[in-house]
């Protein structure tokens, strides 16, 4: 759906039901319309997003158990297709890919010419976008599309994307979207939203459209009306998921406490555990930092510039002549957490955290953003005038 006109809940159509064959028909219809359909698949002991054409690729009957520093797949008692929380990847890797060639320069007798890299051809359709991930996409929309300069590659990929959201049927121990106001219900920003209804008697997907494109697609699928019983069952799924959240982050006053406490002793304490490995920034669905690398071929006739994900946890990230501004692990963790939960609000109008819990599960030493934030929040700091320092 177009990121420029996100419809509210009002735009949603009356719910209908798709069975498993109907969901396959949805995938087929998206493929037929030229979309590169991406959905959950099993690989290397994790649920990862990859190209799919058949529902057989989905992780039927699998779920994930997640705790600090721990992610394991387990068998479910049923054959649910979306019976897990979130894997290590987010949709970021498709809309804001880990590596992207920006342009190529060709040397000439008189200088050089620079040609931008054409955008990737097929538009994406994402199957199974969780509420926290919809919020993460909306946050990256504000980063890449909302400022004075738009990211051309992100603009092209985002504008063509078709989003099939999924209301979560299970919460992991690392989940805290309910406390961030970002889930588990998909409320807006999708083309279609599904709720998986599975028990001994049925395996259906309650579907609503959130955009004209979604409604048009739904109209050609084999659906049947959803009665009040199905709607109530979908509400029960969301209530159960919300109650199953393993974690909670209290954001009340958190921004001010973080910005007032750059010398809090907790930063030293967490730095003693943090490996500065950058895992948290790579699995985070909103972390957007990149670097660029310049390459030439051996003859020096062609030079390319490649943009790559970067992380504020690397020593190189803040390097200026004379050394890195943030030389210590303490300063890098402080930068990440303070940016994510405080400065982000000054910069983009919302927290940079959506409560997906990936940084907790994929931290090799199990550092928990909710625990670190709570520790800083517990101690009042001296009031320091902060906020943007712009010259305007």
């Amino acid at each position: 759906m177009s990121p420029t006109a996100p419809p509210g809940p009002d735009a949603q159509t009356a719910p209908v039901l798709l069975d498993r064959a109907g969901l396959q028909a949805l995938v087929d219809a998206l493929v037929a319309r030229g979309f590169d359909v991406i959905g959950p698949t099993l690989r290397d002991g994790a649920i990862v997003y990859d190209r799919i054409a058949d529902l057989a690729a989905l992780p039927a009957g699998w779920t994930d158990r997640q705790e600090a520093g721990r992610y394991r797949l387990e068998r479910r008692a049923d054959a649910a297709l979306f019976g897990y929380a979130v894997g290590p990847q987010s949709w970021k890797r498709f809309l804001h890919p880990p590596e992207e060639t920006l342009w190529r320069a060709r040397r000439q007798d008189d200088g050089f010419t620079i040609t931008p890299e054409p955008p990737s051809p097929a538009p994406f359709a994402f199957l199974g976008v969780r509420a926290c991930e919809l919020h993460a996409i909306a946050i990256q929309d504000r980063v890449f599309l909302g400022g004075a300069h738009r990211d051309p590659g992100y603009t092209a990929r985002r504008q063509g994307a078709f989003l099939v959201a999924l209301n979560c049927g299970t919460a992991a121990g690392t989940c805290f979207c309910a406390s961030m106001g970002t889930g588990p219900r998909a409320e807006s920003g999708f083309d279609l939203a599904l709720t998986e209804l599975i028990d001994a008697a049925r395996h259906d997907f309650l579907a609503v459209a959130g955009s004209e494109a979604g409604a048009a697609l739904l109209a050609v699928l084999p659906t049947r009306p959803a009665g009040p019983e199905a709607t109530a069952a979908a509400e029960a799924v969301l209530a159960r998921t919300e109650a199953g959240m393993g974690r909670h982050l209290d954001t009340n006053g958190l921004k001010e406490r973080l910005q007032a406490n750059p010398e809090h002793p907790r930063w030293d304490e967490v730095a003693a555990r943090c490996l500065a490995c950058a895992n948290c920034t790579l699995v985070c669905p909103t972390c957007f930092c990149t670097s660029v690398a310049d390459h030439t071929d051996l003859a020096g006739t062609e030079a390319t510039r490649v943009k790559r994900w970067d992380s504020c946890f690397t020593a190189d990230f803040s390097f200026i002549h004379g050394g890195s501004v943030r030389a210590s692990g303490k300063s890098r963790y402080r930068q990440w957490l303070t940016h994510k939960l405080a400065h982000w609000i000054d910069q983009f109008g919302s927290s940079g955290c959506v409560g997906c819990g990936r940084c907790i599960a994929w931290c090799p030493v199990g550092i928990d953003i909710t625990a670190e934030a709570a520790a800083i929040r517990a101690m009042p700091g001296k009031a320091v005038g902060e906020g943007k320092g712009g010259n305007a």
Binding site: L102, A105, P262, A303, S318, S331, G387, G389, G390
Partner: protein, 282 residues
């Protein structure tokens, strides 16, 4: 003061080719380049702004504009060879081509300083980003109260723009004071750090605007000295330096607290950044 938008760049990450028209050596490792565009006119820029300059196949770095904003014939950049990319740019021969994106960033509040005494305080290479402001101020100096340029360098051989400093110093409408950390036998001027010059010139602190550029430690001590002298924190403006890859607020490298130095800065107001300027490794 808002910056002029970059000149019609559909893709803000795409450098445009600019030719090196002239090269002037300033010190052993600093040169000034005059650049002219191959395909377009020279855009407007505001004093304090910077460009991203690309050396073919080597890389791209931010460099402040150091020329006269009234001169629309070229962009002037003063570059010190400190790393691979800046060495390639500083070594560019006349006639060669560099890539350029910009101008980017916030500006010195020159026009807003009209009616006030004006202190322009530079350390080392920091005189280069301030020179466009000096040109603009001196072009209509009657708009200001007393005007002073305070400049400090490591030694006489590292001072930039010495001929121009002498020309400015000879004018009746501006006071120029230069100091060095380490003198040599040729030096007959001040020896010591820049903040020490503040007490040696006449100005009216409650009615003074100060523009500061130099190493971060020099900025901290100078701002502290100005505050102690009675200059209001909101009238002190500093140009900050951070790692930059994109210059358009998208790569995240230049963050300084909630600010992106590339677009909220590089010129920032001291009252808004004083607290974080005092914290190590922000």
């Amino acid at each position: 003061m808002s910056a002029a938008p970059p000149a019609a760049l559909a893709d803000p990450m795409l450098p445009a080719p600019w030719r090196v028209r002239a090269v002037r050596r300033e010190t052993a490792d600093v040169v000034t380049l005059d650049l002219v565009p191959l395909a377009s006119g020279v855009p407007c820029f505001a004093p304090g702004q910077f460009n991203m300059i690309y050396a073919y196949g080597v890389g791209e770095v931010p460099v402040s504009l150091s020329g006269d904003p009234a001169d629309r014939s070229c962009f002037v950049h003063t570059v010190r060879a400190v790393g691979e990319v800046s060495a390639a740019i500083a070594g560019a021969a006349p006639g060669s081509v560099l890539g350029l994106r910009g101008p980017f960033g916030s500006a010195w509040p020159v026009d807003a300083a009209a009616g006030h005494d004006l202190l322009i305080v530079a350390g080392g290479l920091g005189l280069a980003p301030l020179r466009p402001a000096i040109y603009r101020v001196l072009a209509r100096s009657e708009r200001f109260g007393r005007i002073a340029v305070l400049y400090g360098g490591r030694g006489p051989a590292e001072l930039l723009f010495r001929d121009e400093l002498a020309v400015w110093g000879a004018r009746a409408d501006v006071t120029v004071a230069v100091t060095v950390d380490h003198a040599d036998p040729s030096w007959h001027g001040h020896v010591g750090v820049v903040p020490a010059l503040i007490g040696q010139i006449g100005f009216d602190p409650p009615n003074t605007v100060a523009l500061l550029c130099g190493p971060e430690v020099m900025l901290r001590f100078t701002a502290t000295a100005l505050r102690a002298a009675g200059v209001a924190a909101e009238r002190i403006h500093l140009s900050m330096e951070r790692n930059m890859k994109c210059a358009i607020g998208l790569c995240g490298h230049c963050q300084f607290g909630p600010d992106f130095v590339c677009q909220d800065g590089p010129v920032l107001r001291y009252d808004r950044i004083a607290a974080r300027l005092a914290v190590r490794e922000i």
